[in-house]
Amino acid sequence: MNHPEERVNALDIRGLRLHLPGAARPVLDGVDLTVAPGETVALVGESGSGKSLTSRSALGLLPPGATTGGSVLVDGEDVLTMGPDRLRALRTGRAAMVFQDPRAAVNPLRRIGDFLTEGVRRTGVLGKADADRRAAELLDAVGLGPELLRRYPGQLSGGMLQRVMIAGALMGDPVLLLADEPTTALDVTSQAEVIALLGQLRERFGTGLLFVTHDLGLAAAISDRVHVMYAGRIVESGPAEALFERPRHPYTAALLAATPRLDARPGRLAAIDGQPPDLRQDLTGCAFAARCPYATGLCHEEAPGPWPVACHHPLEGNPADD
């Protein structure tokens, strides 16, 4: 892995465990993940795999009653031990998130300018004039005009609103940008625009980007490295291209096979048989064993070792040392 220079990682998650009341096993079970400044890392998985929880933990957004272990360092500081004031400072400054559905994420009753500036204005980081100037600059950076500041969300298309959302996330000049399925709620053309825009902005502002998606193809297209997540664990990690061309974990392979392709012959879409494991049941062995065509007795008894490939029987030979 090529870090451009030895700086403090934008995001450094070490052995993150997260337990919810009423669940038999941790929702996140020892997640390790880093995002260097200026780097794009994708976190891929099904619904319920824990990918959104992982990214939200970077802002200290934990579900009520959650208990945690491990550490989540943003720009070198542990989010899990922060008090409310530090957390607020983190959220208006070093880390910000772009949410899935901009229509739901932006208050329809307040103007766009209000949405963009409220984080920095209400915490006294910037005065009104400075905040407005910065908002106009960032609107320009995402390809929108300053006249939008006076508009209401209802007057904008979904794609425009997601650009506004991205501009809003950049207001505090963050070192870490979290994008939680930022294109899922958009139409296809807007999706491509938003993806291209995120790439440009990362280069221009040097922001580390953690891109959460269920779309492995999209993840490979945008990111330097990809982590595949299943049932609260990272099962495979690696450079996007290698992972896409030559998946080692049976789950990654199954996920790739389940991605609908334009060049495929028409017919039934491939799907992964079975369901992800129930949170109410404890797990022994590999979480994917029940759905895995290659599973053996060992897989049901013993949890596989850590990444790059958390599998007893990785595809294409032995778990090689990359």
């Binding site: 939200r56 802002l59 957004l61 957390l87 607020r88 400072a89 983190l90 959220r91 208006t92 400054g93 910000a96 998130m97 949410f99 559905d101 739901a104 994420a105 932006v106 208050n107 329809p108 009753l109 307040r110 409220e118 984080g119 209400r122 915490t123 209401y152 209802g154 809003g168 505090g172």
Partner: protein, 319 residues
């Protein structure tokens, strides 16, 4: 659609509605049992000549439509006729009594809005035992009719403790406010409960919105999140309820003014109904209808300010 066109159309609608209301108001008096003549004679047997004179003075022998049109013509010129009981012009009578009623309604409205919003806000934001207490109290308030509240408040604060006068309107403005405090509270109690509950549930609904979680995730301080995203977003519901509240105040003031002997429009309506003083009843009824419609118009005009997604006249196909 522009504001002036909308307002003009609504005013035309109001005029048409008022015309219809005037017909109903005028007709209803004649459907009710008893006649003004028999009240004027107050049970005494009168000579046919005296009866004839009364009928002529009030045009009671003319056909219904003729009487209605004559009355309507006078009303359009601002002349509501002469009160049978008070023997003065009804318009003078109304002008004398309107200030007390309007002051009372305004005071009650102020109390309702301040306390109702505060209770709803606290209940929604605090939750837990505070919320339960507020829910219980407001349930009691909603279950207490204003005339019952009037008697209870009079008994406790006026008779027993002697903090406030039991009745009347006093002399001068400050004295008026002092005299109107208990009546305003009696009038407000039920509506405080209603507004508190509406505000609470609207805020709880707004609290669930994703944009609230997003605002928190962007580091907006909690107090500001509640003010700018939760309370602000419940204002539409509060405004709609506000129209209902003012209308209810206008009706309930009849009962409360009678209970506290306040010489306002409400008490006048009650007295003139029981004495079949029909010009006065007709004038007050029309006035109340007009006030109702004005309140609705104001609510409709304010709505786009509270919610930018609402455009004036959008419920019409032309929008």
């Amino acid at each position: 659609m522009n504001f002036l066109r909308f307002a003009a159309r609504r005013l035309a609608e109001m005029a048409a509605t008022l015309l219809g209301a005037s017909f109903v108001v005028f007709g209803a008096m004649y459907l009710a049992p008893g006649s003004p003549a028999s009240f004027l004679l107050s049970g005494r047997s009168a000579s046919p000549a005296a009866l004839q004179a009364i009928n002529e003075q009030y045009h009671l022998d003319d056909p219904f439509l003729v009487r209605y049109l004559r009355w309507l013509g006078q009303v359009l010129h601002g002349d509501f006729g002469r009160s049978i009981t008070y023997r003065t012009d009804v318009s003078t009578l109304l002008a004398d009594r309107l200030p007390a009623t309007l002051t009372l309604v305004a005071m009650a409205l102020l109390v309702v809005v301040m306390i109702g919003l505060a209770l709803g806000w606290i209940g929604a934001v605090r939750g837990g035992a505070t919320d339960s207490t507020i829910l219980l109290t407001t349930t009691l308030a909603v279950g207490t009719p204003s005339f019952v509240a009037a008697v209870l408040l009079q008994g406790l604060f006026a008779v027993k403790l002697g903090w406030f006068p039991t009745s009347g309107t006093g002399d001068g403005f400050a004295d008026l406010l002092w005299h109107l405090t208990l009546p305003a509270v009696a009038l407000a109690l039920y509506l405080i409960g209603m507004l508190a509950r509406v505000t609470r549930s609207a805020m709880l609904e707004a609290l669930d919105g994703e944009h609230v979680a997003v605002a928190r995730s962007r580091g907006v301080p909690e107090r500001e999140v509640i003010r700018r995203h939760v309370f602000r977003n419940s204002l539409g519901t509060v405004l709609t309820t506000g129209g209902l509240i003012v209308s209810t105040l206008l009706v309930c003031t009849i009962l409360v003014e009678s209970a506290f002997s306040i010489g306002g429009i409400g008490q006048l309506l009650e007295l003139s109904t029981s004495t079949k003083d029909f010009p006065t009843v007709q004038a007050i009824s029309l006035l109340i209808v007009a006030l109702f419609m004005t309140v609705n118009l104001v609510v409709d005009l304010l709505h786009p300010l509270v919610d930018p997604r609402v455009t004036l006249g959008a419920r019409r196909s032309e929008a």
